[in-house]
């Protein structure tokens, strides 16, 4: 997998919990072009252990002199966002993956409804640039907790004009999905990124109204969660290892020196899928990739975010 070496050129405190980082390539060259909705995975060395966290690119795809990512501080996380907020400074260096897009705009859409909740606004900022450039019809609906949490509001107003709509929860403003989705022209696609309950509510409303499945898009990155430790046997490499409570299964496999495939590390892309040969307990699936049937079969696991509640699990790697 190809990587880019970057350094932090600027940091801006956007809201109480959100910091924006401007990344430039270490050698001063332009960074690769990308499509709206793409993300990169940052490799952060936290106390000698590499944490890899995905963040949406929110800078303009038309200007790749730098990349912009915004990070919301998650106090209850395993430390990636806290590390970004507290340890990363201007001049800090790390590796990122090439941009990957798991949330791309449909090129066949006639109209696009973009729905953002909180920090879920980030992928839409690059998408808006693409939509403006291709002169495609869209509306942006951005909901956040209270006025001081409305990150990038001015920027968005400037980019979208009257296509943007803001909903401030503390003022009692909420997006009525049923209202929003019930009278849209044929060929409209809807995209949602935000907290899980919001994503689920939007998808449920769209389905209820009979929207075609292919016109409903969402992006949800799951962070690896803390859990009980368990033992893994890699059948092909013939290695046994232990996944500690604060490490993901994928990280533990990498720590053991095994080159496992991965891409998004957020349970969305499917690249790290492993076949489960045996498990003397149950798999706790946290990903958004496997179908319910696949999850229930117990034959597959996405080690980037999922864990097992067992003594031993054997996978084909």
């Amino acid at each position: 997998m190809s990587h880019l070496n970057v350094k932090v050129a600027a940091i801006e405190q956007v809201t109480e919990y959100v910091k924006h980082f401007t990344l430039v390539s270490e050698n001063g060259e332009k960074l690769p072009s990308f499509s709206g909705g793409s993300h990169v995975v940052l490799a952060l060395n936290i106390k000698g252990r590499i944490h890899r966290n995905p963040y949406s690119l929110m800078s303009s795809p038309l200007n790749t002199e730098n990349y912009g990512v915004s990070v919301r501080k998650q106090e209850l996380s395993r430390g990636g966002s806290v590390f970004m907020h507290e340890q990363i400074e201007v001049g800090s260096r790390f590796q990122i993956t090439y941009p990957v897009n798991l949330f791309s705009l449909s090129k066949l859409s006639h109209k696009n409804i973009l729905i953002a909740g909180g920090i879920g606004i980030t992928p839409f900022l690059s998408q808006i640039v693409d939509l403006n450039r291709t002169q495609t019809d869209y509306e942006l609906h951005y909901a956040y907790r209270s006025p001081e949490h409305g990150a990038f509001r001015e920027e968005i107003q400037e980019m979208c004009g009257d296509r943007s709509h803001f909903y401030v929860a503390s003022d009692g403003q909420l997006i009525d999905f049923n209202d929003l989705l019930s009278e849209q022209p044929l060929g409209t696609h809807v995209y949602v990124c935000g907290p899980e309950p919001m994503v689920n509510a939007m998808i449920a409303a769209a389905r209820e109204l009979g929207w075609p499945e292919k016109h409903i898009h969402n992006e949800q990155f799951t962070a690896p969660q803390i859990g009980e430790s368990f033992k893994v046997k890699l059948a092909i490499s013939n290695i046994e290892l232990e996944v500690p409570t604060d490490m993901s299964m994928l990280e533990a496999i990498e720590e053991a020196g095994v080159d496992a495939p991965f891409l998004c590390r957020g349970g969305a892309c499917g690249r790290c899928e492993l076949e489960v040969v045996a498990c003397d307990g149950s798999i706790i699936h946290h990903d958004n990739y496997l179908t319910d049937a696949e999850k229930n079969s117990g034959k597959k696991i996405m080690p980037c975010v999922s864990r097992a509640k067992c003594q031993n699990i054997v996978v084909n790697l």
């Binding site: 190809s2 690769p32 072009s33 499509s35 990957v100 897009n101 791309s104 090129k107 066949l108 499917g270």
Partner: protein, 339 residues
């Protein structure tokens, strides 16, 4: 690098041939004595100096003649270039990829100057110079994919990614192994692979699609595929079938060495940056049986491949001349292990 380009034809009098150097670098595709479909995808990384994968895009001694043949095919059948309206970003991505690679790897032959969006492209072998605005199709004499596709060997299919699938929504195709762009344009991955026997049943296509949907920017991949062609002909399309189909019946023990060609496709796949599409390059290499047997190892192995080929594959590839070719090759196979 200095490259001389051969004057030769891929139709009518068929003067095409390979130099000793070109034979040496021919991408012989068989790692074993038997052949079956597999997900034989590997990273498209640079290999040894002089090999066909030394660079991202290979420019060889046939470059000028192939581009001239392409022009004839396109003039006779303009539908060999087709693009659906939503593919313009992907077209520009493809143009950039090809121009960047060729000018970087063959600086004596191609030159690209970028001044913001104002680009100048110089193609010395074909005598082409154009200044244009990147992203503005009206600044080029034709659509970007057609423009650059006419200046790169092989065929280029541009895929749109949506609904967890890939769609062949734009292409320039003038040297295809008997498939029709006019029929396949807009088709999904499963649809255009529909006619291929066996591969689907053994799960090759499902696995390859899953892999390709996650193809990463900056990490292109490649695979080799093969078929056989009578005469060194590039345009073996269904549209021109009357011009080449009957040749399959003309093979005798006397002309196998001259007329029967192994045709190897170096297939490359690149994720495209702005469009999130994929460009699929299909670059064909032809070698006559006479040329092939100058390498005793290839002669022996190809004899065994062809002899043991699954009948459904032979049928699908249209190898009605297989038996006479196997007989002809048998004199180069002494039965000893091939490696």
């Amino acid at each position: 690098m200095s490259q001389t380009f051969k004057k030769e034809t891929f139709r009518d009098d068929y003067t095409f041939s390979n130099s000793a150097e070109a034979i040496k670098r021919f991408p012989f595709p068989f790692p074993e004595d038997e052949y079956m479909y597999s997900v034989n995808i590997e990273p498209h990384v640079k290999t040894a100096v002089g090999s066909v994968t030394e660079f991202v895009i290979d420019v060889d001694e046939h470059y000028v003649a192939e581009c001239e043949d392409k022009k004839i095919t396109l003039e006779r059948d303009p539908d060999r270039y087709l693009s659906l309206p939503h593919m313009m970003d992907a077209q520009w991505d493809t143009l950039e990829l090809i121009m960047d690679s060729m000018s970087h790897d063959y600086p004596d032959l191609f030159k690209l100057t970028k001044d913001g969006d104002n680009w100048t492209w110089i193609n010395k072998p074909l005598g082409i110079t154009n200044t244009f605005v990147f992203g503005d199709a009206s600044s080029l004499p034709m659509d970007p994919l057609k423009y650059i596709g006419c200046q790169a060997q092989g065929d280029w299919v541009v895929l749109d990614q949506r609904d967890n699938n890939l769609f062949a929504d734009a292409a320039i195709v003038t040297s295809q192994a008997d498939w029709s762009l006019a029929i396949d344009v807009g088709m999904s991955y499963q649809e255009w692979h529909g006619p291929v026997p066996i591969a689907n049943e053994i799960g090759v296509f499902d696995r390859a699609l899953k892999y390709l949907l996650n193809l990463q920017l900056g990490s292109p991949v490649r695979r080799l595929n093969w078929t056989m062609t009578i005469n060194p002909r590039l345009d073996t399309s269904p549209e021109s079938y009357p011009l080449w189909g009957p040749d399959r019946l003309s093979i005798t023990p006397e002309n196998v060495g001259d007329k029967v060609h192994l045709r190897v496709e170096l297939q490359t796949l690149f994720r495209l940056p702005r469009s999130n599409g994929i460009v699929f390059g299909i670059r064909g290499y032809l070698i006559s049986m006479n040329e092939l047997v100058t390498n005793p190892f290839w002669a022996k192995r190809f004899h065994r491949i062809l002899k043991g080929l699954h009948p459904e594959l032979a049928e699908y590839k249209g190898l009605s001349f297989k038996d006479v070719t196997v007989d002809w090759l048998s004199k180069y196979d002494d039965g000893t292990p091939s490696q």
